[in-house]
Amino acid sequence: MPDNHGPYLIRGARPLGGDPVDLLLRDGTVAQIGNDLEVPEGVQVVDAEGLIALPGLVDLHTHLREPGREDAETVETGSRSAAMGGFTAVHAMANTHPVADTAGVVEQVWHLGREIGLCDVRPVGAVTVGLAGAQLSEIGAMADSAAQVRVFSDDGKCVSDALLMRRALEYAKAFDGVVAQHAQEPRLTEGAQMNEGCVSDRLGLPGWPAVAEEAIIARDCLLAQHVGSRLHVCHVSTKGSVDIIRWAKERGCDVTAEVTPHHLLLTDELVEGYDPIYKVNPPLRTEEDVLALREGLADGTIDVVATDHAPHPVEAKETEWSNAAMGMVGLETALAVVQRTMVDTGLLTWEQVADRMSAAPARIGRLDGHGRGLSESGPANVVLYDPAAPVDVDGTAMVTKSSNTPFRGMTLPGQVRATFLRGVPTVLEGKNA
């Protein structure tokens, strides 16, 4: 790391959107919070007037692609991208090549993250060997490894076998782990290309019906409650899913859920031009679903915003729709999309944003040292965000190695100005430090 370890005095930032204060970051912690703090010797001052200070963001759902698809993203480029988006910790999904289904692979990813040091990289372990849905992977070994895996997921594939899912839920309990389910009934979605509805019928693309997600969520909530385990639902995308999770929580199921920024803003009508930049799994849904997801996130039915950052090389998208890869990059636009869809609409306060994007995901991932808010002697994981700095989204200008952003050409309302990981800036003045 360069010699920028601080200390730093952040002047005039508004913690959680409140009144301006100064924050002194020293030795990895927030040393002091107050008005008109004195500038000690050797301290660098960051003028943060008008900027909102939030605790470092935590992403529960990131695809870093390394090992195996370093042409799309690496732990380094993904870490830079995460930092640019205000994240201080990310959960790296297991669908790499080789799959992160052993202690060896998860430790490799974890070590890479540590060496790069721009963001805490917490690997997610596969639930089943090779994501094949047949045999449990060594969940205990991954949990006990240096990577201390707590989130297990076959993301990209659904653990569709009910018995296997039951066993995974039960087994992970011994390590305080959580199974994060990619809810997609496989038979109902064979060859599926987009949300099943008016648009798919018109475009002649095989549909991905909402029921294929909702049926699995309902089953898993019932299973989790039956065996008394924690369940996390990845990228909830339909109104029906929100209803089912709300019902499950009411009846005492220990379920948490995430929604992606793109599902909070975009609808399946974007597919009209067959541009695979809008191809993602689960697919973009309808306006009714978008509004229900926002409502679910606002009332706490959905616990967190997770990016499902899924980088793909250009050639995977510059092709026919049905041949194109599913997924969108999202780390660098997440906070601005949440501002647009949730804060500017009055659905969430900045304090609630801090909960949905920092505290709750850290809690679900059992991630110490993150999501603890901005308090004296707390960890100095801080993001400074300018909510009044509109930016025209351009995928090629992003830090991520890929450029497949569905927000291309849109204007988003704000930008991350600085990110501090344990008191050390990973982003300063809008650039990777």
């Binding site: 290309q193 099943e196 509805g197 008016c198 798919s200 019928d201 018109r202 475009l203 002649g204 693309l205 095989p206 549909g207 019906p209 031009g273 067959y274 541009d275 050639e315 510059e318 092709t319 026919e320 729709w321 049905s322 041949n323």
Partner: protein
């Protein structure tokens, strides 16, 4: 008009102009010299990723009758089968100076994608389960020739609507031209949102037949049975096949259409297929005139 990707892009005047132009060009087939100099010096590429001898031949003949240079670029034995992407193929055609590209592809939307990558005109000759605009236009042309008008015409489209690009293009075009379309199929072979389409839906062929001026039969692939779309070919045929008895229940003036290739004994009996009221071969002949009209309107001007 630069491309023909979907019949939904055509308004009534544009669609009528295509049909009127085809009417004039139909005479060319009866002349001693079956050729017009109109597209001399223009290059039309037939880019066929799916085998379709009849559609490719029809486009080829249409382009040649207009004196265009025609290049057939089929996926088999070309760079495409060696893994070249559609985009790279498009750029290759672009570099060769193709003025028009006729594309048949198994992926819905392939023609849309191609239109972003080439400067020339793109003609959708069938993309996946999306659309087949020239088929719908030649169907409308055939109906107009046989029955005089399209406005108010009652057209039943029967069969595998869910997987049919012909049905999609026909519903859009016929509605634009003022016909009343009824889709007839088992519920498994209809799109889930068919209720929002600008047409009627029925599961009962026998109820629809007496009220139809045109009955368009769609091909039903036997393999759909294995995907549980219907229990057996026999049962499908009993409910939705057109045989001589059902033909007798249609109004006397009513015609039977089929985009081909027909599966005799499944959706249509041999008796009906060979009946003078069945327009299958007429549709093929009309296809050339119609495609000449489209090629002329897309490539003939500035």
């Amino acid at each position: 008009m630069r491309h023909l990707l979907s019949t939904g892009d055509l308004d009534r005047d544009q669609a009528t102009l295509i049909l009127d132009t085809a009417t004039e060009l139909a005479q060319v087939g009866d002349r001693s010299v079956k050729k017009l100099p109109t597209l001399r010096g223009r290059t039309v590429v037939n880019l066929f990723y799916e085998d379709s001898t009849r559609t490719r031949t029809s486009f080829e003949l249409a382009a040649k009758r207009l004196s265009a240079d025609v290049i057939n670029f089929s996926a088999k034995g070309s760079s495409v089968s060696k893994g070249e992407s559609l985009k790279d193929t498009a750029l290759t055609l672009q570099a060769m100076g193709a003025d028009g590209v006729v594309i048949r592809h198994s992926a819905s939307g392939a023609a849309h994608r191609l239109s972003h990558w080439v400067d020339g005109s793109v003609l959708n000759a069938g993309d996946g389960t999306h659309e087949h605009p020239t088929q719908a236009l030649l169907d409308a042309f055939t109906m107009r020739n046989r029955l005089g008008t399209l406005a108010g015409l009652r057209v039943a489209v029967v069969g595998d609507v869910l997987h049919s690009r012909v049905a999609r293009s026909n519903v859009l075009l016929l509605t634009t031209l003022g016909a009343e379309v009824t889709l007839v199929a088992p519920p498994t072979l209809l799109p889930v949102s068919v209720g929002t389409w600008p047409c009627e839906v029925s599961y009962d062929l026998d109820a629809v037949l007496p009220k139809s001026d045109v009955v368009m039969m769609l091909r039903v692939q036997g393999e759909r049975m294995n995907e549980s779309f219907f229990p057996s070919v026999r049962e499908y045929s009993r409910h939705y096949g057109l045989d001589g008895e059902r033909l007798g229940r249609m109004p006397e003036h009513a015609i039977v259409m089929h985009p081909g290739p027909m599966v005799r004994g499944v959706e249509i009996s041999a008796e009906v297929a060979d009946s003078p009221r069945c327009t299958v071969t007429e549709q093929v002949a009309n296809g050339v005139s119609l495609r000449m009209a489209v090629l002329y309107l897309l490539l003939g001007g500035s």
